[in-house]
């Protein structure tokens, strides 16, 4: 029990920046570059933590609290996730609601910190973030509702646990639709192409990156670390959903498959970013509504 907790928490704490490294490496390969080292994200975080920070005269405590609250929220939602099919550290009926709302809390404070600077760029980014998030939220919920119905439980550990095998055998089409919708939501929630481009922040079309324009030093480190952890969370859900159909194996084999799956998830995100252009902003809500429709359809398949 203690050992499992130790492994889960250390995986949650240590792995996320590596995913970002994989995404960037894949993108570099596609662009014909050698790209940064896989561990570059760790180096960046270490460097940022050693730096000082500049604060705008306009800002208040909200600006300083935003990154800490955002990271705390993402970390706690990580405790709710069953990593690799093991029971999560915290698991109860309806815990996925807490996961979604914790992510919303982080977003709320990131947006407020952006508005605290008084910059119109950051205001624009915050507006887009909260608007798109409010459309992505029902899509995410619908995916979880489909999972809940397919597995007959209301906790993430049950939904993404051993019951998933039977669910895949009985209702594969619905789970497939929900999986696709979940991947789209994951791209949107993590500010990846085709919704947002994590590489630039000066253009007026950007969303997440422009919100954190004024943060520097340790605060920026908290934000970057939180963002990678969020990518890890969504990756863990998508990978577990995809692997759930495999026949049960030993714990170590399942763990290895899960880690390999996470790497593959990061690679797929990198490929998506390399082969697609960013959507026009007006198309983003349509894509998210499309994800909602897909998962609603999956739910109808299960309830019919």
């Amino acid at each position: 029990m203690v050992l499992r907790a130790f492994f889960q928490v250390s995986l949650l704490l240590l792995a996320p920046p590596l995913l970002v490294g994989i995404v960037n490496r894949v993108k570099a390969l596609f662009a014909g570059r050698r790209g940064p080292p896989l561990l570059q994200a760790y180096y960046d975080l270490a460097k940022l933590l050693r730096k000082g920070a500049v604060f705008s005269r306009t800002t208040t405590w909200v600006f300083r609290a935003g990154p800490a609250i955002g990271l705390a929220a993402v970390f706690l939602s990580g405790l709710l996730l069953p990593l690799g099919g093991e029971r999560a550290l915290v698991s109860f009926r309806g815990d996925f609601l807490l996961l979604a709302y914790l992510l919303a809390l982080g977003r709320f404070f990131t947006a407020l910190a952006a508005l605290d600077t008084g910059s119109s760029f950051e205001g624009m980014g915050a507006a887009r973030e909260v608007s798109f998030a409010s459309i992505a939220e029902p899509a995410l919920f619908l995916c979880f509702v489909v999972l809940a119905r397919a597995t007959g439980t209301l906790s993430l550990s049950g939904m993404l646990g051993a019951g998933l095998g039977a669910a895949w055998r009985e209702s594969a089409p619905a789970l497939l639709l929900a999986g696709i919708a979940l991947f789209v939501v994951a791209l949107a929630e993590n500010a990846r192409i085709p919704v947002d481009d994590p590489n630039t922040h000066l253009e007026l079309t950007m969303i997440h990156e422009v919100m954190v324009l004024d943060h520097s030093g340790p605060d920026l480190a908290l934000i970057l670390y939180g963002a990678s952890m969020k990518l890890f969370l969504f990756g863990a859900v998508v990978v577990r959903l995809a692997l759930g159909g495999l026949p049960p194996a030993s714990a170590s084999l399942a763990g290895a498959a899960f880690l390999a799956g996470l790497g593959l998830f990061a690679a797929v995100v990198g490929v998506t970013e390399s082969v697609m252009a960013r959507l026009r902003l007006t198309r983003v809500p349509q894509m998210l509504v499309g994800a909602s429709v897909l998962s609603t359809f999956a739910l109808v398949l299960l309830l019919r």
């Binding site: 500049v54 009926r93 914790l102 919303a104 407020l112």
Partner: protein
């Protein structure tokens, strides 16, 4: 004992304004005594409620009354006990707030009158809760409506305040007529007007009664499309009155609806589904319209429509559960809905008091003229932020606890077998998520534009913090929001008691033990969240110690002279989502484009009227008025003409009688 506590609370609240009236020579003392009376009433009422919810059970008194059919029947059962707490506590906090916000020493007679009606409306609300007889209930209902009218009206002679108060009065009476019809039909059928005799009404053939209840109570609660009177009235009233109206007065509508539904034997599932759908529509449209507002108080008023929708969703799930005899659906839905009643009373009054402080300090409540208040008003800003996060349903605050209960309740519907349509109640959870997301967007806009960034007008830049009597109630409400967020599992036994009493189901099976355990986890995670965020904040502060850099300007992407006019406004912030709601908001847009090579001026202005009031009711009323004016041509004032008309009518009747009949 319980009866004594409850009745003395009602009497004290009702008469509290008399202190101010009698001590007009010493206005400060008079107001303080009024305030003290309200606070004592709240404590007494809370004591009575606690005895009912956690202790021995309620009381019932029945005295004869000289009015025909009426009796002085009073009782306090778990349902009314639960509502009684916020209904007495919020006005008490409001009266503390009023010490500085509406001081009798400065305003004199105006404040005396406000306090009289403030106490009266509180007492009337409590009477509505305690009444166990239909006529007594209606008396309380009517006093509440008329006192509310006096409060909205105040001494305000501005045309919009006058209009809002008349619309409110008209809506209140349309609702009262519906209730009169409802109570007369049921009372006639039962031969008694005592609620105690109404238990066990057959639900078959009761659809019209349900419709009457929905209209009568829905008008008070503000369910879409019956919400039209609400934004104007709540925006026009003084802020502590708005807090009471939005925070607790609306809840009497929910109480009445639940009370009425409690009379019926297991109603059909369609009733619950109707209520669930109405709630979902109110929730989504309420927050959608709120997003488009730039008057802070109107915006908050529309959020009441949203929250009443969430409460109605919970009640709808509970009704569906009753039709199925499914104890888990009833318990979770009703517990969530009722907890949201309490929660909304807390954070909505907190937000309205905050809005009052903003108006007091900056002299305006137009979001486009505010900004940067956080530095001048740190306390108000902080407490408003707590309220904003709570109303958006974010952990670790109370809004999450109740929305979580309702969502888990709706997802319990997933356990139903394949092909059962009722399983679609599970869709309530994604709808709640949508509402929550939109609310978070809206409150990011409100807090961001009002309190953060730079001041958008000179008024806002001269703002100052409010005095202690205005801060204190906000602090109490914010602490209550946090406390419920941290310990929802402590309230669940009481909520379970209410729901088992309401649905007539045995208490043991109503709230599954797992729900209480899960709620414990929710509270625990909320505490862990506070701890983790605190540790991280501490860590970053320690890291930054000794690395001080002089404060700079906000990075403007290379532009070095940004001004407050270039800040993102609240309207721009909400624009993406408002565009999405354009089909229902029907905004009024005034736009003159810049023209020519050297354009001189351009103008853009948009506001969102209330769709129901301004686009449907008002044109309809106007059409009636025009038609009536046309008929006036028949009355020129000459007696000969009237004689001719009478003769013509007689001849026409005779012809009809003898030729065609």
């Amino acid at each position: 004992m319980t009866a004594g506590l409850a009745l003395s609370a009602v009497a004290l609240a009702t008469s509290s304004g008399l202190f101010g009236l009698l001590l007009r020579r010493r206005p400060a003392l008079g107001q303080r005594l009024t305030c003290a009376a309200m606070c004592v009433a709240a404590v007494l009422g809370a004591g009575a409620s606690a005895r009912v919810l956690w202790g021995s059970g309620g009381f019932a008194i029945r005295l004869p009354w000289h009015e025909p059919l009426a009796s002085l029947a009073l009782r306090l059962d778990p349902l009314s006990a639960l509502f009684l707490v916020p209904i007495l506590a919020v006005p008490a906090l409001g009266s503390i707030y009023g010490l500085s916000y509406w001081p009798q020493a400065e305003l004199g007679w105006k404040a005396v009158r406000l306090q009289l009606f403030f106490g009266l409306v509180t007492g009337a609300m409590a009477l509505v809760l305690l009444a166990d007889n239909a006529l007594l209930f209606l008396v309380g209902w009517e006093v509440m409506a008329v006192a509310g009218f006096a409060l909205v009206r105040g001494d305000d002679e501005r045309p919009e305040a006058l209009r809002a108060s008349w619309v409110y009065l008209a809506a209140a009476h349309v609702g009262a007529f519906a209730l009169l019809a409802l109570f007369s039909i049921v009372g006639g059928a039962r031969g008694s007007f005592d609620f105690a005799e109404w238990k066990g009404l057959p639900a078959a053939g009761g659809a019209s009664l349900y419709a009457l209840a929905l209209v009568g109570f829905g008008l008070k609660a503000g369910l879409v499309p019956l919400h039209f009177w609400l934004p104007g009235a709540h925006a026009a009233a003084p802020s502590h009155v708005s807090a009471v109206m939005s925070g607790v007065l609306l809840k009497t509508g929910i109480y009445g609806l639940l009370r009425t539904l409690g009379f019926f034997d297991a109603p059909p599932a369609s009733w619950g589904l109707v209520l669930l759908a109405l709630g979902a529509i109110s929730g989504v449209l309420g927050v959608g319209v709120a997003l488009a507002q730039h008057d802070l108080k109107r915006l908050l008023a529309y959020h009441s429509v949203e929250n009443i929708g969430i409460i109605a969703m919970g009640a709808g799930i509970a009704l569906v559960g009753r039709s199925r005899g499914d104890a888990a659906l009833v318990a979770l839905g009703l517990a969530g809905g009722l907890l949201h009643v309490v929660n909304h009373a807390l954070f909505k009054s907190l937000l309205f008091l905050g809005a009052g402080s903003v108006q007091h300090a900056a002299g305006t409540r137009d979001l486009e003229h505010l900004g940067g208040l956080a530095r001048a008003m740190p306390f108000t800003s902080f407490f408003f932020l707590v309220g904003a996060a709570a109303i958006s349903g974010l952990p670790p605050l109370n809004g999450f606890a109740s929305e979580w209960l309702i969502a888990v309740g709706s997802l319990t519907g997933l356990d139903l077998p394949r092909g059962d349509r009722v399983a679609y109640v599970a869709l309530a959870a994604p709808v709640l998520a949508f509402i929550g997301g939109l609310a978070a967007a809206c409150f990011a806009k409100v807090h961001g534009t009002a309190f953060l960034g730079n001041a958008r007008s000179s008024k806002a830049s001269r703002a100052h913090e409010s005095p202690a009597p205005m801060i204190f109630p906000m602090a109490v409400l914010a602490a209550a929001c946090l406390a419920i967020g941290l310990g929802p599992s402590l309230l669940l036994p009481a909520l379970a008691r209410v729901s088992s009493d309401w649905a007539g189901l045995p208490a043991s099976q109503t709230l599954a033990a797992s729900a209480v355990g899960s709620a414990g986890w929710v509270g625990g995670m909320a505490a862990a969240l506070l701890l983790a965020a605190g540790l991280l904040a501490l860590g970053r502060t320690r890291l930054l110690r000794g690395r001080a850099t002089p404060p700079g300007e906000t990075w403007g992407c290379g532009y070095s002279a940004p001004s407050a006019r270039m800040e993102y406004t609240g309207s721009s912030f909400a624009q993406i989502l408002v565009e999405g709601f354009r089909w229902v908001l029907l905004p009024r847009v005034e736009l003159s484009h810049p023209r020519g090579l050297f354009p001189r001026s351009a103008r853009f202005r948009t506001d969102v009227p209330d769709v129901v009031l301004d686009r449907a009711i008002e044109p309809a009323v106007q059409a009636c008025e025009t038609a009536a004016r046309g008929l006036r041509g028949l009355a020129p004032g000459r007696i000969h003409f009237y004689a001719v008309l009478v003769l013509a009518a007689l001849v026409a009747l005779l012809c009809w009688r003898f030729l065609w009949w």
